[in-house]
Symmetry: C2
Subunit: 144 residues, 2 copies
């Protein structure tokens, strides 16, 4: 475990990252609302648009209790964006699968997420490369 740093430079970087986080979150919620989705619904739909998943796996990805996913998928299913399908290999499992409309909504949601694309326009290609490498190193094994 690395020693915590409290020098002014590190504290400023932490504060800057906090600002990025706040702005990203805010813009994500706004983008979701523009598609009449809550943040949680948008996150689940975005996840399923990459790959259909059993209910339990969704909870693991979102780091919440499986019982919560029931309601979120209920609401996405009522909107016609997601379907529950039985898993032929294990009849206990239900796969949550996006419908065509769900995939389309997920795609438009991604396109409307201008955050960090617009601010990144302030940087040159070389600077974006530098930023990418620094973030990769910061995040370590997770993105290796």
């Amino acid at each position: 475990m690395a020693t915590s740093r409290t020098d002014p430079l590190t504290l400023e970087v932490v504060e800057l990252i906090g600002t990025v986080v706040a702005r990203y979150y805010e813009e994500y919620e706004q983008a979701a609302a523009q598609h009449a989705l809550t943040g949680a619904q948008a996150r689940v739909l975005g996840l399923l648009s990459l790959d259909p998943l059993p209910m339990r796996r969704i909870a693991q990805k979102l780091k919440c209790e499986p019982s919560n996913i029931t309601g979120i998928v209920d609401r996405l299913e009522a909107r016609g964006l997601v379907e529950r399908r039985p898993d032929p290999d294990d009849r206990r499992v239900k796969l949550a699968v996006p419908t065509d409309e769900g995939l389309d909504t997920a795609r438009r949601l991604r396109d409307s997420l201008d955050f960090a694309r617009e601010p990144l326009g302030e940087l040159t290609e070389g600077e974006r490369t530098l930023l990418r490498d620094l973030l990769r190193r910061m995040l370590g094994a997770d993105v290796a």
Copy 2:
């Protein structure tokens, strides 16, 4: 308004930032929970620990409706972490002021927020300076 970029490099940086945001949020909620606070309560307490504020100003800072702040401050007040004080200049206004215990809790909360301090340990001082400058440029006027 800058043109949105969809080149692979920019998309990767956006995804990396998304990872940072998810991890930061998760760790913030955990740190709050360790002090028996919700995320919203921790954010309000952290804000007030810098500067006591009228209820309405808290809502503006958190970008939510003023009616929500009533309940959050109610719960912080019930815990003895915050007090409502009348504003002598305008008797409509109530100032939310952290108690000594509230200030102490806010300080310990900040100390336990190791996020972005620990991962930043992976970077040299020169790299942290570089990251700081890139984030400043990205965020533009907000942090000028």
